[in-house]
Amino acid sequence: MPDTQRLPAPWGSRIDRARQLDFRFDGRSFSGHPGDTVASALVAQGRWVLSRSFKYHRPRGPMTFAGTDANTLVQIGPEPNVRADLRALEPGMEVSAQNTSHSAERDLNSLLGLFGRFMPVGFYYRSFFGPGKNSWLKLWEPIIRKSAGLGQIDPGQPPASYARRNLACDVLVVGAGPAGMAAATSAAAAGAEVVLVEADPETGGALTYGRNGQQALAQARAALEASGVRVLTGATCNGWYADNFLPVLQGSTLWRLRAAQVILATGTQDQPLVFRNNDLPGIVTASGVQRLMRHHAVRPGRRAVVVAGTPHGVDAAEDLAEAGVAIAAVLIPPEASLPAELRARLTGRGLRVLTEAHVTEARGKRHLSGLVAESPEGRETFECDLAVIDAGATPGYQLALHAGAKLGFDDARQSFTLSNLPEGLRLAGSVAGHHTPASVVRSGEIAGAEAARALGHEAPALSSLPDPEAAWHRTYPVPAASKAGRDFVDFDEDLQVKDIANAVADGYRELELVKRYSTVGMGPSQGRHSALATARIVARETGRQVGDIGITTARPPFGPEKLGLLAGPLREPYRLTAMHDWHRKAGAAMVAAGNWWRPLHYAGKAADPQAAIADEVRLVREGAGMLDVSTLGKLAVRGPDAGAFLDRIYTMAHAAQPVGRVRYCLMLNDMGSVIDDGVAWRMAGDDFYVTATTGAVDRVFTEMSLLNTQWRMQVDIQNVTSAFAAINLTGPKARAVLERLGGDIAVGAADFGFLEGRSGSIGGHPVRIMRIGFSGEVSYELHTPRSHGLALWQALLEAGAAVGLRPYGLEASRILRLEKGHIIIGQDTDALTTPEELDMGWALSKKKPYFLGKPALDKRREIGLTRRLCRFVLPVEAGRAVGESSLVLRQGQPVGFVTSVARSPTLGQVIGLAYAHPEDAVAGGTIRLRDRKGVERAAKVVAHAFYDPDNKRQEV
């Protein structure tokens, strides 16, 4: 077990040594301190192997201690894929390794590593599809599925609660390192409202773990605190979307953030060095080892080798030396451009510094035991249990690229660069290539001031400072593939140098194809450590420049994000009518209709709901019933052009519609297909009250609003659906009920005719009444302000008690309308239904030059009908198994289908509507139906409504 232990204070700024937290990993007990991450606590106790690699099951340990590598993914309780180097330690945590057989320490699957040479890049395309036709599905895929995948899903796990909050600000600064803090402070000083977002649990960035950062950190924090900036820590800005919309994840809260100006101070991403066995636990980035020591007081090893490719490596070496870690050697790569003064700092401490040295191999089984390097002094093996790799860094470019910035490559500095930033987006600090501390801070101040000025604030114009240290930073080349392999480019996917080179050789020369073929960059760390190395290999193999290769398209999210956070609190929106509770108490079975709930029937717990529904039908045919129709769409269309507007929207004539009259409305789309219907009551010359179907009203309202904007007519449209409750009172005794209730509206046949509307008061309730209905009986549709809905409902019931008035539900309503032969849009129509197919030519105005869908309809009329909706009847026995969607066949071929069918209690037959061939769909014709049992049935076509064809009952 590697020799790690805790360092004394002042190391360990984040931990509380006084307290101890116990937890378990892979079944064994461990402990740590508050302020530890799961990974720091484990490493502090010598436990480095946290996971096994995807393909070869190699032991893997934390590499960056910044949550950017996949090596730290563990399962914690029911939660898979938790980054152990970010997750704060909690007492009692049950942590386990993923994708292992037994444990991370002893994974029985690690034998797979021996077979690596039999698994070339893309190997699964070459094999696994034999011997039989189904071999992939039956034999190979199940094996691969079982061995792929990281975390386990526990279907029994309890729900969690997630919050979603909206936040708007003048300036959003992403990253609270020195540049981000300076940017936020300077924008706020100029008067802007600023939000600063930081993924770490505290502000400061590199100042919290770098050498000599303490004083600068204290000053920056004091200034920030005084500036009034709103700071969100432990918060990850996870993407940039159009118009500066940026989601920020903080714990179980999703902030939906909209900013006028955005400043990205996202820092850099340390890059690994490619050499054989570069994935061994104990090989850590320079910033990673500094985080481990300064934040968590973990002395990460006994004897270390440091590769110093930039000044950060020199810093890390000094830190390690001060923490009492023996330094076997500091290796400075041949390409490095470190000044002599930095090297002198190391030699001044008596450390052995090897220049022009490069690492060729690491040794060790489950942990690093030695590092092999070549230098002008020769080839040497250093015994060590820690290797600190500082091989430069790439800018944190993701958010900028989401926003449309361009990624380039600076050959001199061997570094990616960002350009073409969109308006309202700025960079500050090392992401923009600044490295000298004063220059970094100044770049933040400039960005903050510029953002503030863009918003109209006054802010000082500062000039940037010289940046001598920038020249000391660079990244490092990828050596040729190691003959013995295991020189990893992508740790997530176990891809080695030769895999990328072979992908190119196989014909996948474009970077996107290399990615798709080899899966490089597709793992949990999404190419953070592999993108540059891959670009270098592809450039080398195809003879192009790294800048021409670049990286694959960067898309949100920046880091993995929980589905729960994205979904939010998951509250189902629902809508209830004013009478909802009454229905429930009356024993109604409720059914969802979009977001609404409607009473299906009032059978209560009756044994036979069908009989109860038949009773409800009889109630309407013989007495009086009432139906809650509050869910109907209701639109107020008002203004001097209201009539002309409706003339364009609907097929009938509305400009000429007399005041007080109600007219049927039929709406078509631009293909001439029927999409909605309702009625329009002209309440005054410039005031129409229009209904639309429950399901379509939102669409209709949107479409009307859009067309009104295009047509620029003098019309105002409002969706007043929820403002009114509505009740359809129907049946031969309906009029008697209204008369008994009393009011200022004369409801007699002579005063209030069919298809007329009246407004006034009934039983003390303000109402709009239309004489329309769906049932075929005398009907009054009463609309009243929602607040009166329940009272009017109850008043009607009371007044109707004497004639046996009762409510009925949707099921009875459907039968009633079918008996009368009325269609339901959406049920009896499909995407291609024309009014002529429905025999509704009467609803098409012949005089109007235009209405929605008319040009298409005129054209379709030339083609002639290919089908027609007809009414059919069958004896009860023969129709028992005929269902909605049963096919209509002609010479064995489907020519249509049944859209509605029911057993009519009134007529004692099975009645229905069906599309059929136009020659068959005529009165006296016969159509052939195939019922649900596959039996063909001949049904008779009738021309007229099944019930009261002459409308003697509804129009009296």
């Binding site: 696994f128 995948g149 279907p155 729900p159 898309r555 999210p557 977001n595 049920q827 269902g883 969607s885």
Partner: protein, 413 residues
Amino acid sequence: MPFALLRYGLRRAHRPFDDIPPTPPLRQSYDVAIIGGGGHGLAAAYYLSHHHGIRSVAVLEKGYLAGGNTARNTTTIRSNYLTQASIRFYREAVSLFGTMSQDLGFNVMFSQRGQLTLAHSEATMRSFHLRAEMGKHAGTGVEVVDARTVRELCPHLNMDEGGQHEVLGGLWHKDGGTARHDAVAWGYAKRAAEKGVEIHQRTTVTAIRSQGDRVTEIVTDRGTIRAGQVLQAAGGLNGQIAELAGFPLPIRCFPLQAMVTQPLKPFLHTLVSSANLHTYLVQSSRGEIVIGGGSDPYQLASTRSTFDQKEALAQGALHLFPFLHNVRLLRQWAGITDMTPDYSPIMGASPLANYWLDAGWGTWGFKATPVAGKYMAETIATGRVPDIIAPFALDRFDRFALLNEMGATAASH
């Protein structure tokens, strides 16, 4: 361990498989030029070269091979459509996928794990019954199942009993499945190239010149070529390419988005989709959960992702499987779909005599890759449109002989 890998592993050095040859210089003339190096164009090239002996073929691809909708779709393969014409066509597609790995000697990982579409309303149940009746009539494996069977097919599904989205039943399509989309394109490319088909990546068509009713020249940014016959199979860019050829297509472009989670151990066997919730899920061979839904509501030719669509898909996914809330999303992307008014493709003749169309593939193009390639190749080789694709002719929009697949397409792709 399969024999091929054993043989590979025992060799000393990597012998390149050479799947996709490097882009050669453009010649002056070809028998056939194919505009669009996606799955459809490559499949057509494969059938032309293997089945019709036409090897002088240039595939012109603006970007990288199969980088458009072939690379962006969510790989659903199914034939549970509504019209007899569609069912017949897609049923052959499913059967061609069944032998594709063997035919191409390239594992396309066709995985027929079945597709379960959920009904949360009576209206949806009605539409399922119709699709089942039409499907059975045409002989495809599709049936309406009740809620209990849904639970058996998909044990962890939230049935939402008594709720707004209660699962009333489903449409079970046992023939449905997925395949590895890239592999389909690569397999066709590899085998077509072996017969001499030239694949020109990074070659943008900038103009199409014609005389009378014949296309004479295709101008690209790498040179101008002549071709006896031209096939347009340009995915999201079909509208623009047709304009270059001088005629409009009844196509509107909408973005279609999808996303994928981190890999997980298998828990979801079938494809599950819900039109009411505008969401579908499938777990890939790698263990990732792929989540998709309906197109964006507004016309746009952009592949940029939006956040609100991601929120909506997450809500749909968690409604169906609430215990996935701890699962993390890794990637999000979008494609440009070329939608037709009747949610069906356009195949066959164009207003130009030697210019053929394979367009309007909207959200349903991937599954048709082999069958569209097969019959477009036959069309080009014989100059005659085969019966199976005749119903998809461009002039059906003038005749209003539309194929109503809107309902069978929503959020199932």
